[in-house]
């Protein structure tokens, strides 16, 4: 018996060591930044100028089966964002309510998990499918994991439109893209190069390495920096899960770890950016360490006004929710069919279709000390 135990213990030890070794082996950094995905990138031109129009792609979205005809009739929608309770998704929800009031015969409820967990989000969507809604709006925590439940919705005749964070294209009919990924990348990297310096080191605070939009942005930022700001030094990417406290702790750890080598922090989520700015303020590095990131204006007002943060990159999430509601109404009414090149979205006017089944909201918006007081979300 003792022999058997000893043998088993050795086997266990060997396995544990093997596991650690594998982890160590795969931790050798690849030549692109951590946190980016593996999809092809298309960096924009280095100088200021509008993005060249991409070649038109054929429609690649999903289709409903057996959807009842509800053109012109009142519909109930559910919006399932990544998580509820943060300013960003409160803003998209507000946009949806505004659109619903304007359109008149649309009712939208926002419901979702209290943590950005894909498993919980799937359960929420599943329950609403059982309840029987006419349409689902979503912002995915994971593009692949969410696909089966969305396809189930499509097969039950429920219209599915995504915003903010995409799923696999055939799991939804349309996706409202807030800004081209390469446009965001260009705005962020240009701002960092200007504020921190062309040859300085920086680190990235993101949500998780598998969150779709963050991964896409980081991949595009990496490609754009390699093309137009090759001397910028990437130091590290850390995960902060859209959690305030974790983002602050991770940012502080980075500041302490790299000291003078760190000249800038990228915040990739609306939670990471104010937390990083707070970490920089608490470390007394305001003005010495640049913070560039995506965030809602209200969260950043104190830091922008104090001069700690010079530019905040975003789009208008209220407009994003607004556009998503108009798009799904157009789909239900049969006014937006596969192959369309544009759609009418209320006060936003005509929005273009790009990448086959994505609807572009517009170009990224940069909040600075001069204009941030005009916004309240």
């Amino acid at each position: 018996m003792k022999q058997l135990m000893k043998h088993r213990m050795m086997k266990t030890a060997a396995l544990v060591i093997l596991g650690v070794a594998m982890a160590g082996g795969s931790a050798v950094a690849a030549d692109k930044w951590d946190g980016g995905d593996d999809l092809p990138t298309s960096p924009l031109a280095c100088d200021a100028g509008p993005a060249a129009a991409a070649a038109a792609k054929p429609y690649d979205g999903g289709q409903t089966t057996g959807a009842p005809d509800k053109a012109g009739k009142p519909i109930t929608l559910v919006d399932v964002p990544k998580l509820i309770g943060i300013g960003y998704f409160n803003a998209t929800s507000k946009g949806m309510q505004d659109a619903a009031k304007e359109i008149g015969n649309v009712k939208v409820t926002t419901d979702g998990p209290t943590e950005a967990k894909i498993d919980e989000q799937i359960k929420f969507i599943d329950n609403y499918i059982t309840r029987g809604v006419d349409g689902i709006l979503f912002a995915a925590n994971d593009p692949v994991a969410i696909a089966p439940v969305l396809k189930k919705a499509l097969s039950k005749g429920i219209d599915v439109v995504g915003y903010d964070a995409n799923s696999q294209p055939d799991a939804r009919q349309w996706f409202i893209n807030q800004a081209q990924f390469n446009g965001i990348a260009k705005a962020m990297v240009d701002a960092m190069a200007k504020e921190a310096g062309e040859d300085k080191g920086f680190a990235i605070v993101t949500s998780t390495f598998t969150t779709p939009n963050q991964a896409r942005w980081i991949a595009e930022m990496s490609a754009y920096a390699a093309k137009c700001h090759p001397k910028l030094k990437w130091l590290e990417t850390v995960e902060a899960q859209e959690d305030n406290v974790l983002s602050f702790n991770q940012a502080t750890t980075l500041i302490n770890k790299y000291g003078d080598k760190l000249s800038g922090l990228f915040g990739m989520t609306s939670v990471a950016t104010p937390a990083s700015a707070e970490a920089v303020t608490k470390a007394g590095q305001c003005g010495k360490l640049a913070v560039v990131g995506l965030a809602t204006p209200n969260a950043m007002k104190p830091y922008v006004n104090a001069g700690c943060v010079k530019s905040v990159v975003l789009w208008n999430p209220v407009d994003l929710g607004y556009a998503a509601t108009y798009v799904i109404r157009a789909v239900v009414d049969g006014k937006l069919k596969p192959g369309a090149t544009s759609v009418e979205a209320g006060k936003l006017g005509k929005l273009n279709v790009v990448n086959g089944s994505e609807i572009l909201l517009g170009s990224p918006f940069i909040f600075t000390k001069d204009n941030i007081k005009d916004f309240d979300f």
Partner: protein, 326 residues
């Protein structure tokens, strides 16, 4: 404890005032109310779907019942699920194993993880609470390190049969859970192994001096917990078609809630598989029924918490009555 007290003479038969029966009665009443409030709730489609969704936690709850009966606990089950899920994807994609071998490998890794837990708990006498909190962090860290947070996708179609398919109209994973429940129920009720578990939970020293193989049995239950986590990971990956390093996080709380709700005492010595099943079904259907009725996500958690407190109060008042009478 009731095992040592003389027979209580009461008007109602003993099985009627047991915790599990009361819980089942509460469950039936709750289901009836929710069914009235929402017509889609008590449909076969919805109930089978809920069965599909509760399998992952259910598979973990079976060995957890064994562990809690012995007076121990296993907080690392969620992390083992994450580790096994990652090992499934990693061994298939990066190490090139054929997929069936990768599945077996992943379940094996779960067994090893559980075995390590058991080994240090029995050999080094680390309290289970401390040990499994430590491995909760260790295994999660291993999962994140090995996967480098890259998820593995594009599994072949046949792989999804376990998580999304049906056999004779019932979801496949529900069959797996049913087999597990029957095996666990028989093991607990009708075998020496089961009796040993109760003995260990009631009085470990007496069990040891009675010549029962206490350490070996404990090792077995923790390994079983790890194996169940591996199985659960397979079902989970098959259902969501991807592997992520954060899979399974938070499961341990759902599992323990289901087990404790089912009447298993956290101090050990009391508990049945039947009770765990009722607890599991109760939590899942309550969450589902409330969501269908329009109660928002956060309010559902409040209700589950209230139900848990109420059930613990009922359980302690029942045990108290038996103690006083004896």
């Amino acid at each position: 404890m009731a095992v040592l007290a003389p027979e209580v003479r009461s008007a109602a038969p003993r099985w009627l005032i047991r915790h599990e029966t009361l819980l089942a009665a509460i469950l039936v009443v709750a289901l009836a109310i929710l069914g009235l409030l929402n017509e889609r709730f008590l449909t076969i489609d919805n109930l089978l779907n809920q069965g599909r969704l509760m399998t992952e936690v259910g598979l973990l709850a079976l060995p957890m019942t064994f562990i809690i009966i012995t007076g121990g606990i296993d907080l690392s089950v969620g992390s083992i699920v994450g580790l096994c899920a990652i090992m499934l994807g990693y061994s298939w994609k990066n190490l090139g194993f054929p997929l069936p071998l990768a599945i077996a490998f992943a379940i094996g890794v779960g067994g090893v993880a559980g075995f390590v837990n058991g080994l240090l708990i029995t050999r080094v006498r680390v309290p289970p609470l401390i040990m499994t909190i430590a491995t909760l962090a260790l295994y999660r860290g291993l999962a994140e390190g090995i996967s480098q947070a890259r998820s593995v996708r594009n599994y072949p179609e046949w792989f999804f049969f376990t998580g999304q398919g049906e056999w004779l109209g019932v979801p496949v994973q529900l069959w797996i859970l049913l087999v597990g429940i029957i095996m666990a129920g028989i093991a607990l009720d009708r075998t020496t192994f089961g009796r040993t578990l109760y003995a260990i939970g009631n009085n470990e020293t007496a069990a040891r001096f009675s010549g029962l193989p206490v350490d070996r049995v404990k090792l077995v239950v923790y390994t079983l917990s790890g194996l169940a986590a591996g199985l659960s990971a397979w079902v989970l990956v098959s259902r969501v078609t991807t592997t992520r390093s954060d899979m399974g996080s938070g499961y341990e709380l759902d599992v323990i809630a289901a087990v404790v709700l089912g009447g298993t005492s956290i101090f050990g010595g009391v508990g049945t598989i039947w009770g765990t099943v009722v607890g599991l079904v109760m939590i899942q259907l309550l969450k589902n029924g409330l969501a269908l009725t329009g109660v928002k996500g956060d309010a559902t958690i409040i209700v589950i918490g209230a139900v848990l407190i109420a059930s613990t109060l009922i359980a302690s008042s029942l045990h108290g009555r038996r103690e006083v009478a004896g």
